[in-house]
Symmetry: C2
């Protein structure tokens, strides 16, 4: 035993996993959320995400952006489990930088999101803190108690993705002045970074998809999580990967790196697998919900991720969540 | 609107209260916990408490103590609602001071408490942080869906309290070197501060008591919360207030102040009211559970708290929790 802090993955496996006592619904901390089985026909989906100043957001980010982030990262997990949100609790550790005007803007944005996605605040906790730390638990239900997990992908399933990849990551690069963008691009991307919108269709695909995960650590890392437990692989194709027009032009002019867009960033889009016979249903769903859903490849026998037939070497990503 | 941070009470009333959207079970953030009504016959009790380094514990406190505190403050809220715990989620924001040995001791204590009170870890979130911040949501059930709240106290009800008052507060004074105690006393009180044990009998009194609250801000402040909404008062008597033998001797020698013991400290005992006809049941309950339960007074018509017929002036206490 060393005196250094283990990687987050090791912390979970070595110290925290035993605390689940092998109970149903914890998934050994290997899904986006867990559930409590409350009766024969009732499961409550529960997720927990915490965001911290200087790590998940910048000190001077608008309060609306911080409200948006704590809601979005949790709502995204609820959606990835095939569920819709119902309520949440909020732990606010407020620093001295927080004043009444901040609170007014922060709570107004929270209410806006509550009304948009139809959930309410159950309660929580207030503390004073050196740095701003916000933690939330979100509770949701899955239609017909059908919960989507990361474990159901089957050989020859199609691999689908909602929305576009990399926008939020490019926004982060711009905010950090690591790339220089023109005014219009800067505004577009930084807005995507500050106000990410999760893909909320999880509860609409929970009988269609065989597995799902939200993209919160980059496509590669999250796709890998769909494959690991089943010993399967994925063939994906660069020409099928969804990027916004602006991102395509940045890729052409080599301002951003293709690989980086697939291994970083909080996209909060859904990555899911489905049998090929669901093809037309998924296309209809995209149309009726006015969203982009792209087929990016298929599940194969060969372990690992293959991009255009070339195996991707994945640098072991840390796990920020233990569900 | 000023640029200063409002008191916690104002934050809740002005900015957060509207977020509950008047939903059942939130109690307008005025109870120890809230509940989700999941079906006609199923309510899930939910509470959230967060503890922070240098505020709720000291940086070098034993990891077992920190584990004990995050569990106890939440378990105490669950008990105050007349419920028993079922599961919890844990958000760990870990500082660089945390190493493997710390994690091993911390998680071992968590598991011990889980086994003692029969609940399990559902999942959570891991982050890196400058200071250690730990937030938990605890979930519980109330027998026969009978939830205890702060609002049910009736005229002429008896006022009861479990355990002893002030031990944890004296421990804090000793840890801060604000009082000097001999070795035996020092060990006793600091142990009470580091390893508080909540009163877990809430679920056993939920059909006996008319109202309940856990003492987490001192007797006066918490008793006041049982009275406010009903426009009633309390007559309590100093000779009936429960103190340990050691505390009685410290009071006699004026090393600690009587008033301070009633207005400070995390006792995590239960304060509850009950009709006088429950007197013998409560005494039997105390005996069969091998715990101390003391009758300290009665509910009266005159608003406010009267100690030995003298009205107590309560300095408005801040609310650390919005449930």
């Amino acid at each position: 035993m060393t005196n250094n802090l283990s990687s987050e993955n090791i912390i979970i496996n070595k110290y925290l996993n035993k605390l689940n006592q092998n109970k149903l619904g914890t998934f050994n901390f290997k899904n986006d959320a867990s559930f409590l089985k409350l009766s024969r026909n009732k499961k409550l989906i529960i997720t927990n995400d915490t965001i911290l100043e200087n790590i998940d957001f910048f000190q001077n980010d608008p309060p609306e952006s911080i409200a948006n982030k704590i809601a979005t990262c949790n709502l995204s997990d609820i959606s990835a489990m095939g569920a819709y949100p119902y309520a949440y609790t909020l732990s606010l550790c407020l620093s001295n930088d927080v004043n009444n005007y901040w609170l007014e803007r922060f709570s107004k944005k929270l209410l806006l999101l509550q009304k948009k996605y139809n959930y309410f605040l159950l309660g929580g906790d207030l503390s004073k803190s050196k740095n701003l730390v916000i933690s939330a638990n979100f509770f949701g239900f899955a239609p017909k108690e059908k919960i989507l997990t990361r474990e159901g992908a089957k050989l020859n399933d199609d691999i689908w993705i909602t929305g576009n990849l990399g926008d939020s990551y490019i926004g982060l690069l711009s905010k950090k002045n690591l790339i220089k963008l023109n005014k219009i691009y800067k505004k577009y991307y930084e807005n995507k970074y500050l106000y990410p919108i999760h893909s909320s269709i999880g509860y609409k695909i929970n009988t269609i998809a065989t597995s799902a995960i939200d993209i919160s650590d980059g496509l590669y890392g999250d796709l890998e999580k769909l494959l690991i437990s089943k010993n399967i692989g994925a063939n994906i194709y660069s020409n099928l990967l969804p990027f916004s027009k602006k991102t395509k032009s940045l890729l052409r002019s080599k301002i951003v790196k293709f690989d980086k867009l697939l291994s970083s960033g909080d996209d909060y889009e859904l990555l899911f697998t489905a049998n090929t016979n669901k093809n037309s249903i998924i296309k209809k769903l995209a149309k009726s919900n006015n969203i982009k859903i792209s087929k990016i490849g298929t599940i194969s026998k060969n372990k690992g991720i293959y991009l255009d037939y070339k195996k991707i070497k994945i640098i072991n990503k840390s796990f920020q969540h233990f569900f």
